[in-house]
């Protein structure tokens, strides 16, 4: 990494150097150049698209022609609020998302702790790779594999019966859905917790022990507060990914999620306005969640 050869003193500055010097003296211009591409992209492509979707939520589908009527109307929202089924679906989705998050925290913690504080550096790298690797194998194939595992006569049912116990095959059920979701998002929870735990200096543990705290107390009063932002960061993934998913509920359960209703409204009945209106629900939920998460410092732990 050798520094560039300096310009000879007194030599006429090239066009490039002059332009860059001008830029250097005008930080505002630098900022503008730096920010325009990403903000332009996000503003136009992403936020613009979201805005179009939001506008579409206020249109409605003409039942006679099945065509979208581009007039302002609150029909979709009236239906959302008036019919109890959408509340049921939203509540069910949020409940499962919370349960999945809690399950993932409980399952992820031991291995993250082991990786961060106990394992030798060599083992730590290997474990890190092993945790990441499943993320690279197709989500769909893994969910289908669980379907086979959980089905009557599948791996679990068969193994349990071989052991002489009564058969156990959750098959198509909410329990299966909870299990599969917890499985699929697990690496997204392990990694932030691992990173968070790794950052705690050893001295903290020693100091805590010096002050007379046992393992559990140290955990509760030293480790937990420090690792909380990481927990919240991981929960952003598990919560939001569960909230919006429609594939796993379709494959391993018979229940409708927010995602299923949105997907069927837009993809099957071509009622994009209603799908957009219902889509505001998970968006609002996530907006609130993200604001709380930012408060708790999760953004630094992402």
């Amino acid at each position: 990494m050798t520094p560039a050869t300096p310009a000879r003193p007194g030599a006429p500055a090239g066009l490039r150097r002059r332009l860059l010097a001008v830029l250097y003296r005008h930080p505002r211009a630098q900022l503008l150049l730096l920010l325009t591409p990403p903000i332009g992209w996000f503003g136009v492509v992403y936020l613009g698209s979201l805005a179009i979707l939001l506008v579409a939520a206020f249109w409605y589908l003409d039942p006679a022609t099945s065509a979208v009527v581009r007039e302002f109307s609150l029909k979709n929202f009236e239906r959302l609020i008036g019919e109890p089924v959408y509340r049921t679906v939203a509540l069910r989705t949020v409940t499962i998302a919370v349960l999945v998050t809690l399950a993932d925290i409980v399952i992820a913690f031991p291995i993250a702790y082991y990786m961060a504080r106990v394992a030798a550096p060599r083992l730590r790298s290997i474990l890190f790779m092993l945790v990441l690797l499943p993320l690279w194998s197709s989500y769909l194939v893994r969910v289908y594999a669980w379907r086979v595992i959980l089905a009557p006569g599948g791996l679990i049912d068969w193994t349990v019966q071989q052991l002489g116990l009564p058969g156990f095959s959750p098959g198509i059920s909410d329990f299966s859905m909870w299990l599969v979701f917890s499985y699929i998002w697990l690496p997204y929870m392990i990694l932030p917790i691992y990173t968070g735990l790794e950052r705690i200096p050893n001295s903290y543990f020693e100091a805590s022990a010096d002050l007379g705290a046992r393992g559990a107390t140290t955990f509760r009063r030293v480790v937990l507060p420090i690792v909380l932002p990481a927990l919240v960061a991981g929960s952003i993934f598990t919560f939001s990914l569960t909230l919006g998913d429609y594939i796993t509920p379709t494959l391993v359960s018979n229940s409708q999620f927010i995602g299923n209703v949105i997907y069927e409204s837009q993809g099957v009945s071509n009622n994009v306005p209603f799908a957009a209106a219902f889509a505001t629900v998970p968006v609002l939920i996530m907006a609130v969640y993200l604001l709380i998460a930012r408060r708790l410092g999760a953004f630094e732990a992402l």
Partner: protein, 262 residues
């Protein structure tokens, strides 16, 4: 927590992570088309069938194309945003990290529907370009996070030293700054590529008849007779992905051991 207990717990979680993967691998060698358990006969016939299948190769090619393009765009946009946020104070600075994380934090179906609506409104067709646009949008944040974390850990004094020695901004960037963030770029890029490679929901909304690997898998899992080939493809993906995962591990380790690490 006792060492033994922790070790067992960690091992159990690892086993949990790999049960379906092992099952997939087993079924890749299943002689029958139906996925009964236990497997009665083993065979390697599906490996040959998968290699022969042109649609797999096409889907793999498209996925790699899309992944590379989206990663490139994400690298550029993510770095630019990271530099802007790290180096300057301006109105709306905090909102940027919030805005960038939205594509990942909001449900994929919302992003997908929004982009789909835009594509339909703009009247452009569904092409690999539209897929790339969708992927790049949520890949930006992973690059941004990596780069800004790296920038926060490095000091500006070496840049100032470089410019004191007569280098202009571009030379400083090329010879001093870029090597510092290079590992962050590579780690972020690999993660972005991984995200794009396995993305299904946004892709179904931004693709027409094109098939990326996840879409190919979705279409073929639905046909009971194609499942054995899909299992083979999945096994192949896992084995292949060991390489970039290993690489990203090496890089984040090296990247973390910088001059100003904790």
């Amino acid at each position: 927590m006792s060492r033994i207990g922790l070790r067992i717990a960690a091992g159990a979680v690892l086993a949990f992570l790999y049960i379906p993967i092992i099952v997939i691998a087993l079924y890749a060698f299943n002689a029958e088309r139906t996925q009964a358990w236990p497997i009665r006969q083993f065979s390697t016939q599906w490996f040959a069938a998968a290699l022969d299948n042109p649609s797999v190769r096409d889907a793999l090619g498209l996925s790699i194309q899309v992944g590379l393009s989206a990663t490139l765009i994400a690298l550029v946009l993510g770095s630019l945003a990271a530099f802007a946020v790290h180096r300057f104070r301006f109105f709306g600075r905090d909102t940027i990290s919030f805005a960038l994380v939205l594509p990942i934090a909001l449900p994929g179906i919302v992003t997908g529907m929004a982009l789909n609506a835009t594509i339909n409104t703009a009247g452009i067709g569904f092409t690999p370009f539209t897929i790339v646009v969708g992927h790049a949008t949520f890949c930006v944040v992973v690059v941004y996070n990596n780069v800004i974390a790296r920038l926060r850990r490095s000091s500006r004094s070496i840049e100032e030293a470089s410019m004191d020695l007569g280098a202009d901004t571009w030379q400083t960037f090329r010879h001093v700054t870029f090597p510092v963030i290079r590992s962050a770029l590579l780690a972020g890029g690999l993660l972005a590529f991984a995200l794009s490679f396995d993305e299904i929901i946004v892709t179904t909304f931004t693709a027409g008849t094109q098939e990326t690997i996840p879409i190919w898998i979705l279409n073929h899992l639905r046909q009971a007779n194609q499942r054995p080939i899909v299992n083979v493809v999945a096994v192949f993906l896992i084995l292949l992905s060991a390489i970039p995962v290993y690489l990203s591990q090496r890089l984040t380790r090296d990247g973390g051991a910088g001059p100003t690490s904790r």
